[in-house]
């Protein structure tokens, strides 16, 4: 019995969360409070998480077009010209929607579907993250 208590006391003093012991005479299992789930929500960083894509995930039948690379997002081919697309425009698969400039390369961003521009999420002339959402396109019905 003394042995059990000695083990136990050591266990308490240690930061172990779980232990088991078995001998000819007995088995002993000890665990400390490691509950599961629920905790991540109050984590300090949950609050600074960029949740753009998630926050708009409720809208169904919408396809997001994301940046293929981190770079500067341009809505028009050159400063003097009109934007490639405006909200409400119908677009075809493969149609150029914008440009992301990175490492002196102009990377065209094209539409993956036929649809209507629902939202323009990227800001013209500003840095966009890799895989950051640029456009939301509503699927054309029927």
């Amino acid at each position: 019995m003394e042995l059990i208590f000695e083990i136990w006391e050591r266990f308490d003093r240690s930061s172990a969360v779980e232990m088991s012991y078995s001998s000819n005479d007995f088995n002993l299992v000890l665990k400390k409070g490691t509950a599961t789930g629920g905790c991540m929500e109050v984590s300090p960083v949950a609050s600074f998480t960029p949740v753009k894509s998630e926050s708009v995930a409720q809208v169904s039948d919408v396809t997001y077009v994301n940046a293929p690379i981190a770079g500067i997002f341009y809505r028009s081919p050159s400063p003097d010209e009109k934007p490639f697309v405006m909200i409400g425009d119908e677009v075809k698969t493969g149609q150029v929607l914008g440009i992301v400039e990175a490492m002196k390369m102009m990377n065209e961003v094209t539409s993956p579907i036929d649809g209507v521009i629902e939202a323009i999420i990227g800001t013209d002339n500003e840095m966009i993250d890799y895989d950051g959402a640029l456009f939301a396109i509503a699927k054309k019905q029927g």
Binding site: S43, A70, M127
Partner: protein
Amino acid sequence: MFKRVLIANRGEIALRIIRALREMNIESVLIYSKADAKSIPVMAATKSICIGEAHAKDSYLDQDKIIDVALKCGCDGIHPGYGFLSENADFAKKCQENGITFIGPSPELIDMMGDKQTARDLMKKSNVPIVPGSDGLVETYEKAKSVAKEIGYPVLIKATAGGGGKGMRECFSEEELKNAYETAKSEAMNSFGNGEVYIEKLILNPKHIEIQIIADKYGNVVHLGERNCSIQRNHQKLVEESPDFTLTEEKRQIMGDTAIRAAKAAGYDSVGTIEFVVDSQQNFYFIEMNTRIQVEHPVTEMLTDVDLIKEQILVADGHKLSLKQEDINLNGYAMELRINAKGCGKVTCLHFPGGLGVRIESALFEGCEISPYYDSLLAKLIIHGKSRLEVIRRARRALEELIVEGVPTNVQEMYMLTYEPEFVLGSYNTSFWNKSEKTIKERTEKWTCSIS
């Protein structure tokens, strides 16, 4: 002064650099991978840009993307941290070519120190002791015999093409030499198709002791004492301390002066570390120079009150070193214990120790995910105290207070390590972990139960 510095790193060192920049009133731009989107450095930086997927080659090692982001964000400096691009001369050169200050030494210095033979030659010229050896190939047994005689037994016969222990033979006396020489040669020939070997003195169970130095662009160099990093598992440091408990004051002086001489010979101009092996007679031999900030730099900071990251940034910006050698006092004892993950998962409960003499460097938070893509360092526990015994006792109580749940860690092993007699006496060398691992693991298993 820098206006905006890009940090090409992650985890605790990214946070460490962001904090220093914040305290210097310099903006920080952090590049990060998708795996690190939910991380404290991403939150703490002035601006954070996701540049690619989790694999380092797509993000933290993607030089062109990093330079591009730095330019687009108007950064005038890049801090590489440790690992990743920190000792990459090409990257340092690209920074230079793009008019961005690489916060570290010049590409030429990185190249020179990265090449073992060049570094060795430079040290030899500068009168820095190096491990004695044949200084080139040993073509015949006769030459082997004379070299071994000259440098003294035991010696190590090494294949130039060797690796992983192949083509390597220890040899403790002339009787063993012929056999060892022939075996190493033929093994190297069989394994690598190249039978060339050279000979070095075999330093048995040395201490790994390194000298921290800092240099500016005007030839001023100071050293900030030594760190004993002999507790290593597979060349991975686990505990670092300063000062080394068994080093005499005289030897400390000599090693410090030698490190300064080495740095001056190289024309070094940033923070750096000169690594030595020290044998049981306190003979020391240069092994290599690290041309970056090291994981264990806080140990030195606790003793000297010098903020090494800030000084590194200042000298990179062309400031003259504000420190003089006579200003550097090693105050008390300090130790760093590395808390590593032994697997992946989500941290479900986290509690860090606090109080006098306890410093935490970590980007952990409750709820964070430990991903398999990067190194396993979770937190650095840095303990400072007046005496070595106080530091050990403080380390124990800090480890008792530390709770990291949800991810398997080495916390228990570190705790058991602090009770190993050889550790307590401070007389350990690089053989410590191999000798003690079994006991430590048995005790850890006996008193705890791993999370299954």
